[in-house]
Amino acid sequence: MTDCLKSQKISVSANNLGCFRDQFPIFNEISFSLSAGEALFLRGANGSGKTSLLLVLAGILPYSGKFEIKRFGENQQDIPANQLIHFIGHQNAIKPELTLKQNLQFWAQMYNGDQTSISQILEKARLFGLDNFLAGHLSAGQKHRLSLCRLLLSPRPLWLLDEPTSTLDSQGDTWVSDLISSHLANAGIIIAATHRTIELKDQKKTKSLTMGANK
């Protein structure tokens, strides 16, 4: 899995990004660049445009300026940009009528990932033994963990995370920071909007960007 990820090495750069809604700027003049193994934490008040920036990077919202994903791996030029990205937002994309396993199986197939490791992934997320449990019966925090499990279904270099620790307990926090650390160690890139500080093993690899400062 990690080998596969290493061959998908990328770097990203954003130059003077702006996002407008009805001619009204949500954010403006955002520039950054990240090379493989680096993380960017977006900070700022509610309404400063963190989620919108993530949606722009995810290719959902239209934007002005320039955003580029450069691929370095061999034979990876033909992978479409949208398949280099994992986006985990506030909405957890979980169907309450289906079991945990069925939920993850669906996304594994959508992401071209492997389904054999689903039980192990659930175990890592402290949802051990709940494979055949209906997702609708999970608590909000557990649902959020299940949603984060999608990150592990298929190796993709760019992770876009919106408040990854918002509903988690301290154990969940540790899990997320381990996830992030190991993704960075595998030369992945993470851009995350966070309110709470995420403790990482290697703080040198992280950058932070405060949004809404020019307002």
Binding site: A58, I60, L61, G89, A93, L98, F106, M110
Partner: protein
Amino acid sequence: MRAFLIVIGRDLQLAIKNGGATLTQLIFFISIGVIMPIAIGPDKQILADLAPAIIWIAALLSTLLGLDRLFVADHEDGTLLSLHHASISLTSISAAKIISHWLITALPLILATPLLAVMLFMELPQFLATITALLLGTPALAALGAIGAAISVTLKRGGMVAPILILPLAIPILIFGVSAANSFAGAQTSSSAMLFLGAISLLAVAFAPFAISLALKAAEE
């Protein structure tokens, strides 16, 4: 292709878990078939003459009834957003959604048609023609309905708007559908109506996925 089938499979799985919705629609379809004779009167000949029209109207209205749930759940829980990063394109997903929508909404209605045929005193040839016309025409109805559902996915009053938008566009389906079903009146017009009906379905199913994915992309903005 595999992912395509999986999208259909999951929709069917969800429809079975929420069986109530399909059942409601089926009851609505049959209710229209019951209401019409009461409004028109129990005259056998009149009912038999009007039967194809009644069945088509019932099918049209009950397909519209289920439109609001087609994409709204996927939009609200973030599934549509995450599908932007799937290895299968949104256009293919839209095509899969049309098929699952047809399987969930149109097929049960077609299967329930014999019941209405008995209540409306249909002759066997007329009944067979109606079933054939429904099989040929409902894919277009499902495709148009899916377009309406995609357009109204972000609207809170979407359940009301989609039928208003789709009904005028469904007029050709209704015209050819009812004409095709009236085969006993004249075989020649009915066979050309069948052909037109099939052509409209092919066109609609071929083009609708592009319109749907465009609308869904715009909805996530």
